[in-house]
Structures are given as structure tokens and as C-alpha cells.
């Protein structure tokens, strides 16, 4: 029984922290969010080319580090703490997991190496208009065409980093009604994408319109329908939860730091019980959320019930981060709601996280279903 990171894992974490600090921390995110790509390219280069982190969870056989979700969690917690604008969640977590879960060995070999090298990014395009996270809501159509091709038509929304990703993993419905996943180069003819401007400017979303996009039938990842996609989302939810832990900790640190120096009524506001108790509640949220995310990272690779584990920690960590971000604004008073202060950036990131990979309600319903409670409708599972 060992509930702690190894020295190697801590070293990865330290490297990430150093790379972020060298780039300017949250200031770099502020710069990046103003650009079209909404990406901190310098940091991404360091994380990928220098540290090889894009391939953290990619097997060595495909050019990755062959590590797993415990390492993913250690890295993304640091990225979350500084609101880093990099496609780690979308490409190194979500898309990587989707390819690993859904693809054949040959597809792994074709798609993963450039991602591991940091030369290409990918993302998963699964939500559509309305944002319903259930697979039943997928209407993008995959029609069979002659010449062993498939024609994809439909509109995807809320695609994380979808405006920059080189490869789009697109969910679509086949003529027999099943859900399939296709690897579509972003540059393919008929693919139009535009960035959807978001409240949380530190993480971009895109709308992707597929107008009769022809792809070879072999670009269908495996043959497994929804379950591998569901597992990939579950793994990404665990990563997002850890990212939220990093954000929540940053909010607590901001609040504690300010409370120690800001004086009102002739004493630091941190000596007022109202502030102390707010910060103490945040502390408990941070520590419990962190425990949950770490535990889920391990469980997700060693225990069954990945999706329930992920749903539980996703719901908890999203709520914890949101509450910490909201409360740090309150602790800061007037300065906390200015644009210049970082508190609102965390607050907006936290809000976005409540629906980014399924809503908190979805997650709670998943847990309720696993307890045999219903009828809440059942997730399509074909």
C-alpha cells in the first residue's frame, strides 16, 4: 500500500513546474489566450520536444514513454495550477486514450508516433448542437461510398482545441445505427472549423462542420462502437479532475497569500474568522479532491468500473474547483473581480469544467445508475 508518487514521478512534476515557471506561469496563459490559436506554443514545445510528455501514456512501442495515468495526473495538476494553454488534455489525454482504446495495433502504429513526438495533435469531436453528452445524441452520419470510402456529414461543437488539432477523432452514426469513431485529418476536404469564442479564454473550443468528407473506410478506429469511446472519455475525465485539483490549489494559495498581507481594520484579513473559515473549507475541498483524483488515476488502470470511478471524481473535483475559484474571488474583495487579477481566469476555467467532458449532472447520473437507481434512461452501449 503506497499512496504517493515515486521519485521518478515527482521528477516529472518538477520538470513541468520548471517549464511553466520559465515561461512566465499564468502570464504566459494570459498572452496565449489573446492569440488565435489560444495555445502557448513555447510551453507546448518544451513539454513535448524537451520533456516528451505528449507521449507520456503512449506505449514505448509507438514512440511514447510507456507510462500511465498516475504520471498524467501529476503533470496535468501542474498545468491546471497555471492555467497552461496547451493541448495536453485534448491530445495527450483524450485523443491518445481514444486511439488506444478504440484503435487496432496498426492504427496505433500509424497515428500515435507523431503525437508522441509532439509533431501532431489530435482531439475528440463527440458533442453536437445542444451539447447532450449521451451517445444517443450523435447525429453526424457516416455513409458508405464506393471505393471503400466513407462519407461523413454533420456538425460537431465544443471540440476542445479543435481549431488547432491536426487530427480529428469524429464520432458518427453508421447506417446500421451504431456509433463509430473515425480518424479525420483536419486538412481533409470538406472539413471546416471555426473557433467558438468562450468565456474561459484559456481553453479553446471549436465547431467543426463536416460536409461530405470522404475518408477511407480504414480510418474507422477498430470496430467497437461506443464502449471504447466511453472509456477514453472516462480517462480524460480523470485527467481533467486532476487539472481541476491544480486549479483549486492555486485558488487556495492566492486566497491565503492575499489574506496574510491585505490589512483592513488594522489587521490582516486572514485574522478574521470569516476569511479563515472560508479558506479552511477550501483547504478541505482541495485535499479531498486531490486524494480522489490520485486514487482515480490508479484505480482507473487497476480496477474495473473505470467509468464510475471517473464519474465520481469528475463530479467531485469539478465542484471543488468551482467553489474554490468562486470563494477566492470573494476573499479578494474588489480586486478579485478585476480583469487584471488572475482569480477570474480560474473561475472561468472552473465553470467551463463543469460541462467540458459531460456535465456534473451526467456524472452523478452515471453513479446513480451504477447503484441500480433509476429510471434515469440508460446510456446507449452499442
Amino acid at each position: 500500500m503506497r499512496f504517493a508518487f515515486s521519485e521518478e514521478q515527482e521528477e516529472i512534476r518538477r520538470q513541468v513546474r520548471r517549464a511553466i515557471a520559465d515561461g512566465g506561469g499564468v502570464l504566459a496563459a494570459r498572452r496565449a489566450m489573446l492569440e488565435d490559436a489560444a495555445t502557448d506554443l513555447e510551453l507546448w514545445r518544451r513539454l513535448t520536444r524537451d520533456l516528451g510528455l505528449a507521449g507520456l501514456a503512449i506505449p514505448e512501442a509507438h514512440g511514447g514513454a510507456g507510462l500511465g495515468w498516475v504520471e498524467i495526473v501529476a503533470v496535468i495538476e501542474e498545468l491546471g495550477a497555471s492555467l497552461a494553454c496547451v493541448p495536453f488534455l485534448s491530445s495527450a489525454c483524450l485523443a491518445t486514450a481514444a486511439i488506444l482504446e478504440a484503435g487496432t495495433p496498426a492504427q496505433h502504429d500509424a497515428l500515435l508516433p507523431p503525437m508522441a513526438r509532439g509533431e501532431a495533435t489530435a482531439t475528440l469531436a463527440w458533442l453536437e448542437a445542444g451539447g447532450d453528452a449521451s451517445p444517443a445524441a450523435i447525429e453526424t452520419a457516416a455513409r458508405v461510398a464506393q471505393g471503400d470510402h466513407v462519407i461523413l456529414s454533420g456538425t460537431k461543437r465544443h471540440v476542445v482545441d479543435g481549431h488547432t488539432a491536426d487530427l480529428l477523432l469524429v464520432t458518427a452514426r453508421t447506417p446500421d445505427g451504431a456509433v463509430a469513431l473515425y480518424a479525420v485529418p483536419a486538412a481533409a476536404a470538406g472539413v471546416e472549423r471555426r473557433r467558438l469564442p468562450t468565456m474561459d479564454a484559456t481553453r479553446a473550443q471549436a465547431e467543426i462542420v463536416l460536409s461530405d468528407v470522404h475518408v477511407p473506410a480504414s480510418s474507422r478506429l477498430g470496430g467497437g462502437g461506443w464502449p471504447p469511446i466511453g472509456r477514453a472519455l472516462a480517462k480524460a475525465r480523470i485527467a481533467l479532475a486532476a487539472e481541476q485539483v491544480g486549479g483549486a490549489q492555486a485558488c487556495l494559495d492566492l486566497g491565503v497569500g492575499y489574506a496574510k498581507v491585505r490589512e483592513q481594520f488594522g489587521r490582516p484579513i486572514g485574522s478574521f474568522q470569516a476569511i479563515q473559515h472560508t479558506l479552511a473549507d477550501m483547504f478541505v475541498l482541495v485535499e479531498t479532491a486531490r486524494s480522489s483524483a490520485y486514487h482515480a488515476a490508479w484505480d482507473g488502470e487497476h480496477e474495473p468500473d473505470l467509468e464510475i470511478t471517473a464519474a465520481a471524481t469528475a463530479a467531485y473535483c469539478a465542484a471543488a474547483f468551482y467553489r474554490c475559484a468562486a470563494d477566492t474571488i470573494q476573499v479578494h474583495g474588489g480586486i478579485g473581480f478585476t480583469w487584471e487579477h488572475d482569480a477570474h481566469l480560474y473561475f472561468k476555467r472552473a465553470r467551463a469544467g463543469r460541462t467540458l467532458l459531460g456535465s456534473m449532472t451526467d456524472h452523478r447520473d452515471t453513479v446513480a445508475r451504477s447503484l441500480g437507481l433509476g429510471p434515469l434512461g440508460t446510456q446507449e452501449s452499442r
Binding site: 465544443h158 468562450t198 490589512e263 483592513q264 474588489g334 472561468k348 460541462t355
Partner: protein, 390 residues
């Protein structure tokens, strides 16, 4: 108990409504719904013209005593605010002059001050801002350090104010400043009237989390005002400043609630459009918001009724805490109703939808004009008689 307005009051209501409709269907037709908390950056010039229109028609200073005002009852003021909000008339710039400075001058000012300041405010031609908070004195107003010294017949002012609404648009500012540096805390402060359009005054808008600005920093760097531009005696500034806050009798609360009702209606429309009412939890949260707003109205009516004849009752001390908390929760409900679409803003670079503005700006509601923590301190001490937390 009788919760109906009198027939006379209803006639007054019809008069207000008719005037507003005529203007807002006429020359000012593009102004409906513009301005207000979180949206003060909208349509500034036309809204200034609207202020003058209001003034010309005699709607400013409704509750002030004659001759500058019309001495209308509290309920008529309530009616005016209700109709104003119902008509979605634009957010006011003149409210600080009308509801804070005006009554203060009317009650505590010299005859000269009354003659000098009340008429232009009532005409909608003179805008005011409030110089209380400072970077080091937010919750703790008695910690004010802005200094004013009397020299050659004028006050010379040095210091910095912050969270000053509309400072960049105001003509005048009432400033709480330390005129006796030997006194500490509440003593030694004075209440000065300072022209904003002069060298020595710089107002810099502060961009807030919605990406727009309505609060300012104001730097006084040797700004001057005539020796007689002081309300009360030197050293009585704290008393006057507190009196100013007490003049805000809450008549506008019911208008504010009509604005809230509009936001709630927009959320209900979004629920329907997205069929979010398939989820009973969403339905119940909407119900809670609706109940909360109804309770807010009951609370305001009861407090106003008790306060009609004099001091506001202690029972009313919870008003700010209640509405700001309710409004914050409303913003969260709006986002949860919208699901993933809640993230998508109206347009680059940072154009928010009205519901997003509500959501984001409501985080400021529990902070400005006395944070929730300060409100609770006040309730504990004044309404409950609990000992000061030393």
C-alpha cells in the same frame, strides 16, 4: 394589512407609464434594456441625453422636498422605479446625484449649496460620483487616507479613491477625506464636494471580469475645490457620509426586482428552448429562484412599509445580503440550464450574452457596496446586538 396601492397612486402609475412609453417608443427607442450593473459601458452619450430628458420632465428628485423636488411619497417613488424597470428604460447615470448626494445636500447642506447643486442634478445635467473607498480602505472606510488641506481659500486634495462608479463620466465627486491628520479613524474626516473636470483629477476605469468597466480608480493629485464646498463642519465627514448612505431608502429595490424578473424570464425561456425541464432538478431550481424573488418582494414591501415614516427598520438590514446571494445563484442556474452552450460567448473578442453578464457580474454583487461579510457584521452588531468581534 392592505397590500394594494391607492387609486391615486395607480393614476400616478399610469402617468409614469404613459410618459415612459411615449419616450421609449419615440426618440429613445434604441435605449431599452441598455446600461445598468455590469453593462454601464453601453450607449453612454444617448443615456446622458436620456438623463436630461428625465430631468426636463421633472422625474429626477421625485422624492426630494420642494422646491427642488416633488416631495413624492415613498410609494410613488416605488411606483416610478417599478414602471421604469418594467419599461426597460436605460440604466441611470444620475442615480448617485439623485439618491445619495441630493438628499444629503437637501438635509445637511447650506442654502447656497442647495441652490448651486440641486437644480442641475434635477435637470439631469450634473453627474456625481462617490469617493469613499480607497485601495487600503475597502471594507474599512474609517481607514481613509486621502488628505485635504485648506490653503488660500480652497481645499487641496491628495490621495486615491477606488471602486468609484462612473468617475470617468462624472462632473463632481463627493469625497471623504482626512482634513485633520492628528485625528485617527472616524475622527478628522470631512465630506468635500470636488469638481472632477480639473487638472489634478485622473479617473481610470478598472476593467472587470466581464471585460468591461464601470468602476474607476480616481487619483487626486493636488485637486482643488472651494473652501465652502464642504457638507457639515470639518471633522464631521464620517457622520455626513453615513447619513448619505442612510438616505438610500430602498425605493429602487422593487425596480431592481423587476430587472431580476426579466433575467429569470430569460432563463425560463432558455429552459423551454432547450427542453431542460425534462430534468426535475432544473425545474425545482427555477422554482426556487422564482420563490426567492417573490420572497424578496415581500421583504422589500414589508421593510419599506415600516420605513415609510422614518428610519428604516432593523429588519431590513438583510436586504443587500439577500439579493446579492439570490442573484449570484441565479447566474449559476442560468449557466447550468445552458449546459455546454453556456461557454460560448456572443462574439470575439469578449462579447458576453446577457445571461453570461449576469453570471459573471453577480460575483461582484456580493462584494461591492459592502461585501457579504460586512453585511453580516452589521446585522450581528446592529440587529442582534452581538458584541464587536475584537
Amino acid at each position: 394589512m392592505d397590500l394594494r396601492f391607492s387609486d391615486d397612486d395607480e393614476r400616478f402609475r399610469a402617468e409614469v407609464r404613459a410618459w415612459l412609453e411615449a419616450r421609449l417608443d419615440g426618440d429613445f427607442r434604441d435605449l431599452r434594456g441598455l446600461g445598468g450593473p455590469g453593462r454601464e459601458h453601453e450607449a453612454i452619450e444617448p443615456r446622458m441625453a436620456w438623463e436630461r430628458e428625465l430631468g426636463a420632465a421633472g422625474w429626477i428628485g421625485l422624492g426630494w422636498p420642494a422646491p427642488s423636488g416633488r416631495g413624492a411619497s415613498l410609494w410613488r417613488q416605488v411606483i416610478f422605479h417599478e414602471e421604469y424597470a418594467q419599461a426597460r428604460a436605460p440604466g441611470r447615470f444620475g442615480h448617485i446625484g439623485e439618491y445619495l448626494l441630493g438628499p444629503t445636500i437637501a438635509a445637511l447642506g447650506t442654502p447656497e449649496q442647495k441652490g448651486l447643486f440641486l437644480p442641475p442634478i434635477a435637470r439631469g445635467e450634473q453627474m456625481w460620483c462617490q469617493g469613499y473607498s480607497e485601495p487600503g480602505a475597502g471594507s474599512d472606510l474609517a481607514g481613509v487616507t486621502t488628505r485635504a488641506d485648506l490653503a488660500s481659500g480652497a481645499w487641496e486634495i491628495h490621495g486615491q479613491k477606488i471602486w468609484t462608479s462612473h468617475a470617468h463620466l462624472a462632473d463632481w465627486c463627493f469625497v471623504l477625506a482626512r482634513t485633520d491628520p492628528t485625528e485617527r479613524r472616524h475622527a478628522g474626516l470631512s465630506y468635500l464636494l470636488v469638481p472632477m473636470r480639473q487638472r489634478g483629477v485622473t479617473a481610470r476605469p478598472i476593467k472587470n471580469l466581464t471585460g468591461t468597466a464601470e468602476f474607476c480608480e480616481v487619483f487626486f493629485d493636488g485637486a482643488r475645490t472651494a473652501a465652502e464646498n464642504i457638507v457639515g463642519a470639518p471633522g464631521e465627514g464620517w457622520k455626513v457620509a453615513m447619513a448619505t448612505l442612510a438616505f438610500e431608502r430602498g425605493a429602487s429595490t422593487l425596480g431592481q426586482q423587476i430587472g431580476f424578473a426579466g433575467e429569470l424570464a430569460a432563463i425560463i425561456a432558455a429552459v423551454r428552448e432547450r427542453s431542460a425541464d425534462r430534468d426535475p432538478e432544473i425545474c425545482r431550481r427555477v422554482a426556487d429562484a422564482w420563490i426567492g424573488l417573490r420572497v424578496m418582494r415581500s421583504y422589500a414591501l414589508r421593510v419599506l412599509a415600516h420605513g415609510e415614516q422614518g428610519e428604516l427598520p432593523l429588519a431590513g438590514l438583510g436586504a443587500k445580503l439577500y439579493w446579492s446571494t439570490w442573484h449570484r445563484r441565479l447566474g449559476e442556474l442560468a449557466m447550468d440550464v445552458l449546459g455546454p452552450e453556456a461557454e460560448i460567448i456572443a462574439g470575439a473578442p469578449y462579447g458576453l450574452t446577457p445571461l453570461q453578464e449576469t453570471f459573471l457580474f453577480s460575483r461582484a454583487d456580493t462584494i461591492y457596496a459592502g461585501s457579504s461579510e460586512i453585511q453580516k457584521n452589521i446585522i450581528a452588531r446592529r440587529a442582534l446586538g452581538l458584541p464587536r468581534s475584537s
